[in-house]
């Protein structure tokens, strides 16, 4: 569990003094001025390594609805709450706590988890964009992202799993913060959603998914970085036809390894294998040439086995239980179909087929149970070469009944 640098006990007391001062309407406790006028929240956000946090407003914390479920995750809930809100603790309660640092870590966890929720609200997004515009989060370390500004991002919404990372909207990837002082900050305090909700909310900051390299100025200089200055001349306003997508011109240059000036061929064992991860299509329409399972639309080839990986990954997201087994069958049958008949409009049919699978599984007769039972499967294999898509599924279901 990442924890902050151990809080200075004196500071702690100052905080308590601080309450008195606030209660006393600041009447002359000038001795501890500098630290005492600071609330716990601003003190916490000013600690080294806490630069990514914004200050959660007190009324957000005070609203119990916003804290739903957190009290089971944070030990010493009441004490932590008092610390965060700068409330003078009860006399007898204070004696119960063996060590103030325990409460301190609870308070940090409480604040962090509230912070995770707060930055998804309108006020929180606003607070974070202010920090973003002040470059509080730094820039992407990837050279060809050309210092795109990043935002903090967690890999999990549960605390204690991983430290904070930085998300770059240009390369859609996450990076380790450059300084080790962020190694102690829990990623859950920012959460998995924030970075992406942020760029959905401020679309003018999100790079569009396509990129047209600027026309080569005079000579195509060898280094990919020489395109830098060439982006400016294309001064006409940039428009993404998808109004819900990123509205910013992307930094789309990719790196080509070269040996003595010659590009390394992909035929070499050491040749480029990863450029796909950074490349963007030149126009948004090209994105539509790949269907929801990651297949090229209207293109039959025997690469379906390779594509299966990607396809299944997508499938998992939708409905792992239902579609998994059938998916494979469908894959096989599609290949058969490919051999059997000339390719026809593929994408839409595939969709139909898949929909058929899901539907048949859902509407399956109750006697059959939750899945197509095993006998049905063998039966289906016994009548193999019939063909493919949704309709055949129906046949499959009825055959055992008829027999």
């Amino acid at each position: 569990m990442p924890r902050p640098a151990d809080p200075d006990p004196e500071l702690q007391e100052d905080d308590n003094d601080d309450d008195e001062i606030m209660d006393d309407q600041e009447d002359g406790y000038t001795s501890s001025t500098t630290t005492s006028t600071v609330t716990w929240i601003s003190w916490f956000c000013s600690l080294p390594g806490h630069e990514y946090f914004c200050e959660v407003t007190e009324d957000f914390i005070e609203d119990d609805f916003n804290l739903t479920g957190l009290n089971v995750m944070v030990p010493f809930w009441k004490e932590a709450m008092e610390m965060v809100m700068d409330i003078e603790p009860d006399e007898d309660a204070a004696t119960k706590i063996p060590d103030v640092s325990i409460v301190e870590s609870s308070a940090e966890m409480l604040y962090g988890l509230v912070h995770q929720r707060f930055i998804l609200t309108r006020a929180g997004l606003q607070a974070m964009i202010d920090k973003y515009e002040n470059n509080a989060f730094g820039v992407c370390p990837r050279v060809l992202c050309r210092s795109s500004t990043v935002v903090p991002c967690g890999r999990s919404d549960l605390p204690g799993l991983d430290t904070v990372k930085l998300y770059c909207p240009n390369c859609n990837d996450i990076y380790v913060p450059p300084s080790s002082r962020y190694q102690g900050v829990d990623g859950a305090f920012f959460g998995t959603t924030f970075a992406h909700l942020f760029f959905q909310s401020y679309r003018e900051l999100a790079p569009a998914p396509f990129y047209k390299p600027p026309p080569p100025p005079s000579s195509t200089a060898s280094s990919p970085s020489s395109n830098a200055s060439a982006i400016e001349p294309a001064s006409e306003a940039f428009v993404n036809p998808n109004p819900y997508g990123g509205q910013k011109r992307a930094e789309g240059a990719i790196y080509y390894p070269r040996i003595y000036g010659f590009k390394v061929s992909e035929r070499a064992k050491s040749g480029p294998r990863m450029q796909w991860m950074r490349v963007r299509p030149e126009s948004p329409e090209q994105l539509d040439r790949v269907d929801w399972r990651g297949h090229w639309i209207g293109e039959y080839s025997d690469d379906d086995d390779d594509d299966e990986d990607g396809g299944e990954m997508e499938m998992q997201d939708f409905d792992p239980d239902v579609t998994y087994e059938d998916d494979d069958d469908e894959e096989e049958e599609e290949e058969e179909e490919m051999q059997a008949e000339p390719p026809r409009a593929s994408g839409s049919r595939r969709m139909v087929g898949a929909a058929g699978v899901v539907q048949s599984a859902r509407t399956a007769p109750t006697a059959a149970g939750l899945r197509p039972p095993a006998p049905v499967k063998t039966q289906a294999i016994n009548i193999p070469r019939i063909a493919s898509s949704g309709q055949v599924r129906v046949v499959r279901q009825y055959i055992p009944a008829a027999a």
């Binding site: 040996i259 003595y260 064992k269 050491s270 294998r273 490349v279 990986d309």
Partner: protein, 276 residues
């Protein structure tokens, strides 16, 4: 900088170390990426062909590097000579590290992770290699190449961000992996070599470890990589998938699907080549 060297000399620290310009240069802060160029490489004029037009005061700068410079040279000239000597050494370095021995020396440093680790989370701390974006000096600072994601990153420290990329050249990391395909990092899982070095680190002394590293390199270098097949490695790559409340972000997911379809196409192409 130069003053420090002068001081070291004049205070009479008697080891060879302080008297040798190259050693001083390598040990000064910010020059950690450089390796030592063998002296016989420097004195062979063939290796320096053309550099005399890049470096002013070429002869004296070379004398300074090889520690043959006259003692009675004026201080202001000395200071400017130092700049030239650095430039000259850097350009020689760029040529040196693409020779067999130079590659070995840089490999040694790579195995000791002296160039840092990839900041990309999914690369799991893959060690990096220095690379330039151009071979002409005074254009671009040095970048770091990750053999796993095959992309380039800026050094974390501003010290290193100030080093000229031409001192490493555009070729070096790619030539390294071309010649030693066994060293091409895996696309998933923890990096092999760094894991083994890290395991050795606490238990064993420096010299012992260095020998181990050498052995490993020898092992890696020994194979010609005939058994390596990298045509489908890209399928194993881990990617980050942006999600809002667990749901993928439409436009990004679309882009990633497109990219992966492109990847599959390449894999298919390469496998077809392999079968032939």
């Amino acid at each position: 900088m130069f003053h420090r060297a002068v001081e070291e000399i004049s205070t009479g620290s008697d080891s060879d170390y302080s008297r040798c310009w190259v050693s001083w240069f390598l040990s000064s802060k910010g020059n950690e990426y450089f390796c030592e160029v063998d002296e016989d490489f420097i004195v062979d004029r063939f290796n320096l062909t053309g550099l005399n037009s890049e470096v002013s005061n070429y002869n004296q700068a070379l004398e300074l590097i090889t520690d043959n410079l006259d003692e009675d040279i004026q201080d202001d000239l000395r200071a400017s000579l130092d700049v030239q000597a650095r430039l000259l050494y850097g350009l020689i370095h760029a040529r040196w590290i693409v020779t067999t021995r130079g590659l070995q020396k840089m490999l040694d440093k790579y195995k000791r992770v002296e160039f840092g680790r990839c900041p990309r989370v999914m690369c799991q701390q893959q060690p990096l290699l220095p690379v330039g974006l151009t071979d002409t000096p005074y254009q671009k600072s040095v970048k770091l190449y990750c053999g796993r994601c095959e992309d380039i990153y800026s050094p974390k420290s501003s010290r290193h961000a100030a080093i000229d990329g031409a001192y490493f050249g555009t070729t070096f990391p790619h030539l390294l992996f071309l010649i030693y395909p066994n060293l091409i990092p895996p696309k998933s899982g923890p990096p092999l070599d760094s894991a083994s070095t890290m395991r050795n680190e606490p238990a064993e002394g420096g010299s012992r470890r260095r020998r181990n590293v050498r052995d490993e390199i020898q092992e890696a270098v020994a194979g010609d990589g005939a058994d390596i097949n990298t045509s489908s490695v890209a399928l194993k790559v881990e990617r980050y998938r942006p999600r809002i409340y667990g749901f993928q972000v439409n436009e990004v997911a679309k882009l990633q699907r497109w990219q992966e379809a492109l990847r599959d196409r390449q894999v298919q192409r390469l496998e077809a080549l392999e079968d032939r």
